[in-house]
Amino acid sequence: MRFSKPPALATWLLENFRSGSRNDHITGDLMEAYQSGCSRRWYWKQVLAAIIVSFYQEIKGHPVLALRAIAVGMGTWFIYRYGVAPRLLSPLVRRFLQPTGFPFSPWSLTWWTLSLTVNAASGWIIARLHRPHRTGMVLVFATFSFIVHLQTLPYLWFDGANALNNTRFLPYFLNNLAALTLPSVAILFGGLWGALPESEASEYEQHSAP
């Protein structure tokens, strides 16, 4: 029998993104199967299937919570986009930076940072408000955000095709690629942050209290 480590990223994804009860036993089963000769491909397939199946079960079992998670996430974004950003942040940033349309200017990077922070905050809030179902609900909003940002796909395609011939388009291509993927990644990151072990401990204490 070989004792080699299974793909660490796959194990991390399984332990952090599969909804439902604690996932130690599933991870253990997969590791046992991997040690007895199953391939890395098989391991990855099982991990992704486990995450997708649990995600589907979570939405099917709690559709109202899923809608609430989307509403909370959208609400957070709208407060930032139409409340905080134009009234507070925009005047502040304009005092120090010159507005420009170029993707990697200080102005653009500042707004990216602020925007991704808000996305992370929405993931954190969703995780905190849906503690028993936090993984599933954070995934719901991250998926929703990804679907919404699919609108950048034509621009991504256009800039990608142009960037092959002219590197001038590369920053715009990268900007659109970031616009498609990074908001969802930030939401997941915020969701993970909202599910730190200390919050698990306090939740366990709440449930086990007489």
């Binding site: 029998m1 004792f3 599969r18 439902g20 009860s21 130690d24 036993h25 599933i26 991870t27 253990g28 089963d29 997969l30 590791m31 046992e32 199967a33 040690q35 007895s36 397939k45 099982q46 299937a49 486990a50 995450i51 997708i52 199946v53 649990s54 079960q57």
Partner: protein, 111 residues
């Protein structure tokens, strides 16, 4: 007639495998048994999602077992069918037996 949920396809298969395997049933042997007898691959994620659902319905119970080095120190979770689960499977068998005879489309087919 009272309204009740019948077991789904995979749920019934998992219940039958649990009864067949006895006390030492956990994810890998369950998946292996279903693959061997059913002839198709079933992901461990689906098996565990089904087991968690059956446990919520009170048809299956679980307990944590030993952890081994090849499992990265993670404990096994053993599953067994409860008395309610056995009754549910028996009821399912009775219903299926009643529905099975004289199905013209199936007559002459080798199973």
């Amino acid at each position: 007639m009272s309204k009740r949920d019948y077991l789904g396809h995979l749920e019934l298969m998992v219940m039958l495998v649990l009864i067949r395997l006895g006390e030492k049933a956990y994810g890998i042997p369950i998946a292996h048994e279903i693959e061997t007898k059913g002839g198709r691959e079933v992901s461990l994620g689906s098996i565990y999602a089904t087991l968690e659902r059956l446990e919520t319905k009170g048809l299956v119970s679980s307990e944590l077992g030993e952890s081994t080095p090849e499992r990265g120190g993670r404990a096994k979770k053993y599953f067994s069918v409860t008395a309610k689960g056995v009754r549910e499977v028996s009821e399912m068998q009775r219903v299926l037996k009643q529905l099975w005879p004289r199905l013209r489309q199936l007559e002459g087919r080798r199973v």
